[in-house]
Subunit: 449 residues, 2 copies
């Protein structure tokens, strides 16, 4: 029997949702990107080596030696009660002061939290509203649920309330079942922008007026460079906002500990859904996070992380300012991991990618962050992982690649081959107002890419 | 705004699959069961304190201190390559000698593996064949996928091949789309029986003849008391069998490390599905298992576990033999965690449960293990967790409860109130031949119950 059949004998047997899954083009690229000579501005990996590894190692070792009966055993589907208490303390930093541990469900990263929420609410064909661009991992969840994504544009102050209202009206006119708005209000992935204070209230007011459920995904909220954490949407509306949190950026992504805060009726559904999916989250990693919050200077560690990321953000923006050719634009994040860059003259970041890798620099093409195929003129640059000197070198290489593309572009344009018809076409900073379609499944070996 | 509204304002907004989810009746009971005076024969918790906790603690602590850049960081969706190699070594113990690490996907326990397989294959309304009774956590997965379960009867030699063939013919006649057979061939949960050697080949032959996919769930395969591990179904057919494995019973359930072995085309779908669900499994727990397999005497540890479970099985069977009233029957497992008991005279294990808890003994009623409401005269007894003396005391209490029920029963029967019409009705040992219905969602706080 052939071990590697060319034709899949089960091809006619998959579920409908499975046919929408595509092998990632980016994933193949990432084996190249992991070569040491390549500066990767693609991955979203936190700088975990800035943690006090000896102290964390001793702490976790003692949890196993001293509490193996708990840390190596099954736990409850909802998650460890002590951890859920500490999670409420963490959320209080963003103004959520009325959360009860009974409303918290611990998840295998906030990715599982979003998957559970989507499974609980979305039937095939239902509509999810999401920023354009939106987090690639969220688009994967919505695609797996066979939901349709309608992007709502952002600007430098985040999601545009008027555009949200417009989208809701149009969906209502179309008879679309809108199940929820999915939004990343702080230091958006990939947008790098933050929802302004007045807009937060506007979004909550719209949710109230249109009876809209809001999924607030907030992995980066404590990673602001210049200010105190902003008040969460959930702090303004406990009934219409389901909040997703994560320790991946404030402690460790390798532990896969996230959570959902939801009204009790929803929480009950989420627990049943997670029991069917994983029985319970890992006990050891939950105890590790709870003990870390109990015994380690975690607030100081977050401060250390943000100082490190601020330095890298500065290196990124200074290099972009100094080196990028005219016509290139980008966002200026004041927290989080990402810059969202728009290429000049309608260059195509996807087509340019192999040439960038040849020049030993990597990024994520913008199309990965849209469900509708737009985003070709954009790219996401991550500054979280490389050192400032690497970032500067990476931006230098990227600037050269873009310049070479522009040269090629103007050469071809002069002879009018038709290859670059996008020239001169107005390209909005944040596109994709009205399109609904299957999620683009570009994914990378680095799962946060 | 009320914090605990009596009516769920989102009740009209859930997905179709969510309406089938029911709050567990058993879960409420388990807060009672966790009282120290209650002997619980209900939970399926492994005896993790039999592990060398100091050595495992040091090992995991060193993994974090020395390899934090890997163990605390994101990993790949498919799972750590080193662990996948070691998983192939483990499967070789059951005759699977041709598996490649590239065909393995690491999952958050084998529960997630089954959920991924089901998501990849099942649309709503599709039929899954499963033993009757079947693992309660699997029924939860099938319900969440809105699949219909058709039970196939077992006897003391496991799944009955002729009954499987009959079920396939009837499904074909009905036009049902049968997506796969789900089976636990070794030390069945909850049945306690093992698929005999001749039947293994018969099942594989039927799968070949009917083009049937088989999901072989094998958490207990290495926990046999009297013999070498039996040859897996997957060892007989690499293309039609998808194999689910777990370290929950051979090492630790609190780490939540399981796996799927599948043909490459299916494996690719599973990776895309798991990326959408959890991004990647926890890195720390994967490194912990790989290091454990590399550096600790894991085969000897499994031997130690099986000796411990054998002693507990013996205590269970000896007590049952000595104490149970006539008419009670049970299976005699030679491995694993469970005895499947049938009550005399059609007593109802679900109705009897509160009285058992009052008598300070707990079990899982049989209806939890059927998708069609049958199993009322059965119960599952777990001997994996309590000490032999506790087991003997638990069985003593249970025998008294059953005797009291029989007394009550005969009293009521004498005055013919109609309350116990089941009396005299022949009750097959393994019922539920042809029924298809929604999964019963009884679940417990102990997730493996």
């Amino acid at each position: 029997m052939p071990r590697h059949p060319r034709l899949d004998p089960l091809a006619d047997r998959y579920a409908a949702r499975t046919h929408g899954m595509k092998t990632s083009e980016i994933r193949a690229l990432f084996s190249v990107v992991s070569r040491p000579e390549v500066v990767s501005l693609a991955g979203g990996m936190p700088a975990v080596t800035a943690l006090p590894l000896d102290a964390v190692g001793s702490m976790i070792g003692e949890l196993v030696s001293g509490m193996g009966a708990q840390t190596l055993q099954y736990g409850s589907g909802q998650g460890d009660p002590r951890l859920r208490e500490r999670i409420c303390d963490v959320m209080a930093l963003e103004g959520i002061t009325d959360a009860s541990p009974s409303e918290v469900v611990v998840t295998v990263g906030s990715q599982q939290g979003l998957d559970l929420v989507t499974r609980v609410f979305c039937d095939p064909g239902d509509v999810v509203l999401a920023e354009g661009p939106s987090y690639v991992g969220a688009l994967g969840v919505f695609q797996a649920a066979e939901a349709r994504v309608r992007h709502v544009p952002m600007d430098d102050d985040g999601l545009i309330p008027e555009a949200l209202e417009q989208a809701l009206l149009e969906c209502r006119a179309n008879g679309d079942r809108v199940k929820f708005l999915y939004t990343v209000p702080n230091y958006h992935n990939p947008g790098g922008v933050t929802l302004s204070e007045p807009r937060r209230q506007a979004i909550v007011d719209i949710a109230d007026r249109y009876d809209l459920l809001v999924i607030e995904d907030n992995p980066y909220g404590l990673l602001g460079f210049d200010r105190e954490p902003m008040r969460a949407l959930r702090a303004r509306d406990a009934q219409r906002v389901v909040y997703l949190g994560s320790f991946s950026k404030t402690f460790s992504p390798g532990l896969r500990v996230g959570w959902v805060l939801a009204p009790l009726a929803v929480r009950e559904k989420l627990v049943l859904a997670t029991e069917a999916q994983v029985l319970c989250p890992p006990s050891l990693t939950q105890y590790a996070v709870a003990r870390y919050l109990d015994t380690q200077p975690w607030r100081e560690q977050i401060k250390l992380f943000t100082e490190l990321y601020r330095e890298r953000r500065d290196a990124t923006l200074e290099s972009l300012d100094a080196l990028m050719p005219p016509g290139t634009t980008w966002t200026r994040p004041d927290g989080g991991f990402y810059v969202w860059l728009k290429l000049p003259n309608g260059l195509d970041s996807k087509l340019m990618q192999p040439r960038a890798v040849n020049a030993h620099v990597a990024y994520v093409p913008g199309i990965g962050f849209y469900a509708d195929g737009s985003g070709r003129e954009h790219m996401r640059l991550s500054y979280c992982y490389p050192e400032p000197d690497q970032i500067r070198e990476g931006v230098r290489r990227l600037a050269r690649v873009i310049e070479a593309e522009l040269d090629l572009h103007s050469t071809f344009d002069a002879v009018d081959t038709g290859s670059f018809r996008a020239v001169g076409r107005p390209v909005p900073t944040h596109t994709a107002e009205t399109l609904v379609g299957p999620a683009n499944s570009d994914r990378s070996e680095d799962p946060r890419a």
